[in-house]
């Protein structure tokens, strides 16, 4: 009791054995944890004065870390995802890492997608470490059975849909090799592939631009897929999970990213590969995911945190996280991603499709707008209206969408509004 009182007043601090301790938070599977562990071991070996404690967070990562920021106990190093990075960067809770980013990019420049996703008007509040777009996973055995060859340059979305009768038993062809052609393709991919843009500028939106022929064409296509009978209906997907359907050989195609590789490698009894995402009138546009590492602005050990990130992004670090059993990471630097080391990893055979999604020309980034989560919800609601209420015309759906987006623009949270304004005044 006395000890407790004495500690309480004078402030007992734990002896640290002369080492700086930093806390690092991330999400992911046990497998991911093993990869992170290997990297941390290598880092601690190279930097004996720093100890890295890990904080793996399963569910609700964003919320938990933000609660820790509010409670002033947030981790020093934070893994951030493209989609929510901006929420923190705009609030000033991440340290400015522009100089570190320039130093890293000086050796191996970031490819277009991660560069755009993690820079805000030329400043970096996180160092990209992994990014890539979704690609088309294909069941090669099924294609072979149906006698379908893969055309040079891949299919367009229309052409892909027309393969349905040959591949899907649900289309009434009992000799077809699979039950379904694919899952309902992600709406955002079709929207962007058909050239729809929701706002005039994804980062500084001032005007809603979704009421267009392109948006209507995209919604028509979304509906066409849904009505075809070749795509997996919701109840089947619910009952069996989504990627299991592909793994069990019940789908010919599957849209996903590099993170799906460990779920498939050595676990299917058919041959599979990845192809570039099908193209729409606007080209082969896909949606991207990606992670970066940031330093919390309240960190007591910003220098140690920077050193950890620097190691993570170094060629040595990249080799550890991209190789091995992980198979989830795609390097963000052009040299590393197209290096023999990365391209020789198997499976899949065409691993180069992943880094290709990040080069300009091959694919574009998808980002609806700042305040992504709200916009995503609006789009999801309208897509579900389009699919479940066939009586509502596509024109009406697109009008409703435009209406909702306009409202979201009018009543954006003040943080986003302010940063947009301050950015405008800077320009």
């Amino acid at each position: 009791m006395l000890l407790l009182g004495a500690c309480a007043l004078t402030g007992c601090k734990r002896a640290d054995g002369g080492r700086t301790e930093i806390l690092y938070s991330f999400w992911g599977s046990t497998e991911q944890m093993a990869v992170e562990r290997r990297l941390i071991d290598a880092f601690e070996k190279a930097n004996p004065d720093i100890r890295v404690r890990t904080l793996p967070i399963g569910a609700r990562y964003l919320q938990k870390v933000q609660a820790m920021m509010i409670g002033n106990v947030a981790p020093d190093v934070l893994m951030v995802e493209m989609t929510f990075y901006d929420e923190w960067a705009s609030r000033g809770v991440l340290a400015d890492l522009t100089s570190l980013a320039n130093q890293i990019a000086g050796e191996d420049p970031f490819m277009a997608v991660p560069e755009r996703a993690f820079s805000r008007d030329g400043r970096f509040f996180a160092i990209p470490v992994n990014a890539h777009g979704q690609v088309l996973f294909v069941n090669l055995d099924a294609l072979r059975t149906a006698g379908i060859g893969i055309p040079e340059g891949g299919w367009s979305w229309e052409e892909l849909l027309e393969l349905g009768p040959k591949l899907s038993r649900r289309a009434g062809n009992p000799d077809a090799p699979t039950d379904f052609l694919m899952l309902q393709p992600p709406a955002e991919i079709l929207l962007f592939a058909y050239g729809a843009s929701l706002f005039d500028d994804a980062y500084h939106p001032t005007k809603v631009t979704s009421d267009s022929a392109e948006t209507r064409a995209a919604f028509e296509m979304i509906r066409k897929f849904f009505k075809s009978g070749y795509v997996v209906p919701a109840d089947v997907a619910d009952a069996q999970g989504t990627y299991q359907l592909f793994r069990d050989g019940r789908l010919a195609f599957f849209v996903s990213g590099r993170w799906m590789t460990p779920e498939l490698a050595g676990r299917t009894d058919f041959e599979w590969d990845v192809l570039q995402i099908p193209a729409g009138p606007a080209g082969p546009v896909t949606s991207h995911g990606g992670t970066g590492l940031a330093v919390w602005s309240g960190s007591a050990h910003p220098d140690a945190a920077r050193r950890f990130i620097e190691f993570y992004a170094s060629p040595e670090g990249v080799e550890i996280v991209t190789g091995g059993v992980g198979g989830r990471y795609v390097p963000v630097g052009g040299n590393a991603a197209f290096s023999d080391g990365f391209l020789s990893l198997r499976p899949p055979e065409s691993i180069r499709r992943f880094p290709e999604t990040m080069r300009d020309g091959a694919a574009q980034i998808y980002l609806y707008a700042r305040g992504q989560s709200l916009v995503t919800r609006i789009v999801t609601n309208r897509v579900s209206q389009a699919l479940n209420m066939m009586g509502v015309s596509t024109d009406q759906v697109v009008q409703g969408l435009t209406d909702d987006l306009q409202r979201s623009l009018d009543r954006r949270p003040p943080s986003a509004r302010e940063s947009a304004e301050s950015n405008e005044s800077q320009q």
């Binding site: 007992c12 601090k13 640290d16 046990t30 399963g58």
Partner: protein, 308 residues
């Protein structure tokens, strides 16, 4: 007295109702004693689910290894005891002032107290959370000599246990002090104290006893049923509290049992045999309190309704 009904029929009904009440608890117990595979074994026979087929007592031991269960248990117990003692004390004192003493404005203030019982917890929780978040920063401004922001440890060794901040989020202060004041407790005890006959007190007064002496020698012993009721309820409330410690803590070491149970809920499914064993360990003090306190609080329960 004669029995108007064939009482056997009523017993049949009551036994059936009793079994319905017990079945889920039996299921809990038998799961807690299962092997991991045993818990996840589909069976046609419902009785196999209710009666333990395996006797894996080591589940109860394993619970303590998987997570800092001991720390959670300690936190919950310490917080519940401190909150209970504090709340019963402050409520009894206030109830005495509201029931046995006469002073201007007494009934008006009591009405204010009663009115706050209507306020939903979520209304007061938000400002309390913000206040706790800002307390260390504000106090640093007032008393810069003390490091209010720092986490404290018990001792200086490399694995000295964390005891949180002095005040603010992640502090025992936040987990105990705000829960020590209750309008309900004051109300409950006041109703009971009102029914104590005036004569005893007056006799003591004439003998020259001070108010404090009257309070703890005469009033408190006579309010024992009420105190026992309040003690039981407060303890159970503090022991099972989920939301308050959830928002007030971030550090694992400062969390309590209701939050700690989450640890058995892995990313790839819940370990139900351990979850149920841990849940049973959590219910243990509640059952003990229930058995000790039941004589009192079943009568205490009716106070609010009949006299309120």
């Amino acid at each position: 007295m004669r029995y108007r009904q064939p009482s056997r029929l009523w017993h049949l009904f009551l036994v059936a109702a009793g079994l319905t009440m017990l079945a889920p608890l039996a299921f809990m117990f038998s799961t807690a004693l299962s092997t991991p595979a045993g818990a996840m074994r589909a069976t046609e026979n419902i009785f196999e689910m209710l009666v333990p087929r395996e006797w894996e007592w080591k589940n109860f031991a394993e619970v303590w290894d998987v997570v800092p269960f001991l720390r959670y248990y300690f936190n919950s117990l310490a917080i519940a005891v401190v909150v209970t003692v504090g709340q019963v004390f402050t409520s009894a004192c206030a109830a005495y002032a509201f029931s046995r003493l006469h002073w201007p404005g007494r009934d008006k203030l009591f009405l204010c107290y009663l009115a706050t019982m209507m306020v939903p917890g979520s209304v007061t929780m938000l400002p309390n959370f913000i206040a706790m978040k800002m307390a260390p920063e504000v106090l640093t401004g007032i008393l810069p000599g003390i490091d209010w922001m720092a986490m404290r440890y018990l001792g200086t060794g490399e694995d000295a246990p964390l005891i949180g901040r002095l005040i603010g989020l992640d502090s025992y202060f936040a987990l105990t002090i705000p829960a020590m004041f209750s309008a309900y407790g004051t109300f409950l005890l006041r109703q009971l104290m009102l029914s104590i006959p005036r004569e005893l007190e007056e006799a003591a007064h004439i003998d020259g006893c001070g108010y404090w002496r009257i309070f703890h020698v005469i009033i408190l012993p006579l309010s024992l049923p009420g105190l026992a009721t309040l003690t039981t309820f407060t303890f159970m409330g503090a022991w099972g509290s989920l939301l308050w410690p959830l928002v007030m803590t971030n550090m694992d070491e400062m969390r309590t049992l209701p939050l700690g149970l989450q640890a058995f809920q892995g990313q790839y499914g819940t370990e139900w045999h351990l979850m149920m064993a841990a849940a049973l360990l959590m219910l243990l003090p509640v059952v003990v309190m229930f058995l000790i306190g039941q004589r009192f609080f079943i009568s205490g329960l009716t106070v609010g309704a009949v006299k309120g």
